[in-house]
Symmetry: C2
Subunit: 394 residues, 2 copies
């Protein structure tokens, strides 16, 4: 079979608000392989990733991502890995290429599975065993402690045994203000729930500022502090990991290739490595990170910030962990993200989540339901129409 | 003063060939500050960086680069650093932002210098002392050893005492084929010249394949092997550095922030750290890397692959080294890059290069001479014209 087509679509809510909600837009990728249609989602900046796919070339190592993919042979996962190497070789001076390729890679897995009538898990050699994860509700802190507590109470009432609060003003005020927010989250969740905090890189490379929050985190039995620093600040991560005592350090969502995530474990000493398949180059490199985490005795966790298509793809790299694990479960999705997947991955009666059955990623999309969110894009360079949104077909 | 305007222009040769020549296109950035006009150049993929500048926002940490810059106060270098932090905070999920911001940052330095009638060196607190560098001619290997030798002879005849050969098929054939090419370069240059080899990441993460080239490199007294591995492969760099004996390891052009370059020195143990101001976020973060290199006893070297506007900006971070140093000097520039700078940085009679005098970066551009290379770009999203190439004013 060949990769017959790769079509990116920019979808977005009518209004994008200035909060840390990644589900407000998406670059949805549709590929066609041997007559089967597969879907993937790129995380972050749809227009920029679209440009990376279709841009005219600059030189031999800065070429459009689609050029390396279209028409390629695709009969097995080995071909996906081979195409990934082509993208790396031809696009290594094109920074955004990793983000753009990620959604394509996921769509290729989905299409290959559908063409061969097999779940992606089977293509990955995982056998029939079903992974099950403890989902943690992933939400933003409230505007104040009272709102955070209400959010936490709602999460507990919805059956979640774990939750992560993040962003908003965490880390940018005083440690005491943060303490109040963390306490509110703990009070709302109850003392038996697992609580995590996400700093969203707010401390930059300031280890002291991050360390000043450790007592409040310990006091509320927070399991991990996530992404305190910029993605590549390995020494800061390592220093805070040494200081953390009962609070583990987590990070990795900023990794745009497997090596960066592995560096964060080996040189940055994080306990929890969090990978977004929509950024790191797709399911293949995420699987490499998951296996490396296992061999190092660290915990692999998905990063998911958008739709349940992204959630499904981000669960695959560790879908054969016999003991399951923690899984990020975005709870405040936009209407766009909710419309896309009419049958989302929901909590089972035992409070765990599982991947759906079925060929490919096992996720059915409702394309008609997101059609109103399509943003028609045209890009022309000189006389050449470089991109014009194609019809959005199911 | 305020940042009054930021205008990116996509310029390119009529035909882009599939070789490792980065001067075939450019994203030129014009800024206006207090009535003064400054220019900068972004390295790599003009259309993608342009999209990163103007894209609609995705969420609070994935916003268009220009939004963080336009209208900002700019009276001193402190303001440039402050705007850089704004870009980092608002764009950290937009991967291409670092490349896009780089050209803007350089243009801001140039404009600020012109507005204050001072050289950028003076703004950087460097005083009146003039740096001087030993330029190495930076060229691609020939198609075969005979062509490489001819190139090397021409370089020696032009007065260069140092040269770097790279890319083409180096590393993708056998070690013996590479040996032949390296020998030809050495023979053509003569035994007293300084010779370097650039592998252009060809070995990926394969330390054995890179190590297999060390004997041939040692035999021809090659000073450094450049970029054997992918940018973030810290452990591979460290392993090869231990094996290198007389051959030093160099790298860093893939760094898109200061921390990554510093990691390559501390964790990757490279001896020569090579930074492109057009990728790493401009002159400010490059200066941070240069000072860190000095404190670690490593050698800072500019990476320059494009025009002499890029060369001037890339020399600034180490323009006050009393002993000078090595400087990459691209020798096979496209007509576009040559036309842009009518008075390039040329070899002085002593065989060294120096920065020109004058306010800002000291480089005068001939905008009329590159007008024929302008690629008119239009980007529309829905009803909104997101970008349309503005008039190219001097």
């Amino acid at each position: 079979m060949r990769v017959e087509s790769v079509d990116p679509y920019y979808l977005a809510m009518p209004e994008i608000t200035d909060v840390g909600d990644g589900s407000q837009d998406m670059l949805l990728v549709r590929v066609q392989v041997g007559g089967a249609v597969g879907w993937g989602e790129c995380e972050a900046s749809p227009l920029t990733s679209l440009a990376a796919m279709v841009t005219p070339p600059s030189h031999s190592a800065c070429r459009p991502v689609l050029e390396a993919v279209l028409g390629e042979q695709l009969d097995s996962p080995t071909d996906i890995a081979r195409i990934a190497r082509r993208v790396t070789e031809r696009c290594f001076d094109l920074l955004q290429a990793d983000h753009a390729w990620s959604g394509i890679e996921i769509a290729l897995w989905d299409a290959l599975g559908k063409a061969l009538d097999k779940p992606v898990r089977a293509l990955m050699g995982m056998g029939a065993s079903q992974g099950a994860w403890t989902p943690y509700a992933s939400v933003l802190f409230g505007e104040d402690a009272a709102e955070t507590r209400q959010k936490a109470e709602r999460i507990a009432a919805a059956g979640f045994s774990a939750a992560k609060f993040g962003w908003a003003r965490f880390g940018s005020g005083s440690p005491d203000q943060d303490r109040e927010q963390i306490r509110a989250a703990r009070l709302g969740l109850g003392h038996r729930a697992t609580l995590m905090v996400d700093a969203g890189t707010v401390f930059g490379e300031d280890v002291g500022a991050a360390a000043a929050r450790l007592p409040a985190l310990e006091e509320s039995q927070v399991t991990w502090l996530e992404e305190p620093f910029s993605a590549g600040a390995l020494d800061c991560y390592a220093q805070l990991s040494r200081l953390g005592r009962s609070v583990a350090i987590a990070g990795g969502e900023g990794s745009h290739n497997a090596t960066q995530a592995i560096n964060l474990m080996t040189h940055g000493r994080v306990t929890y490595i969090q990978v977004d398949t929509g950024r790191i180059g797709g399911i293949g490199p995420a699987r490499v990170v998951a296996l490396k985490a296992r061999s190092l005795g660290r915990e692999y966790v998905n990063h998911t910030f958008t739709s349940h298509l992204a959630l499904a793809s981000s669960l695959h790299p560790f879908a054969d962990w016999p003991e399951g694990g923690m899984a990020e479960y975005p709870l405040e999705l936009s209407l766009l993200a909710r419309n896309l997947v009419p049958r989302p991955i929901e909590l089972c009666q035992d409070g765990l989540i599982r991947l759906p059955d079925g060929p490919g990623l096992g996720i059915r999309l409702d394309i008609d339901a997101v059609r109103p969110f399509l943003r028609e894009v045209t890009i022309t360079v000189g006389e050449d129409p470089v991109y014009s949104t194609p019809p959005l077909l199911p």
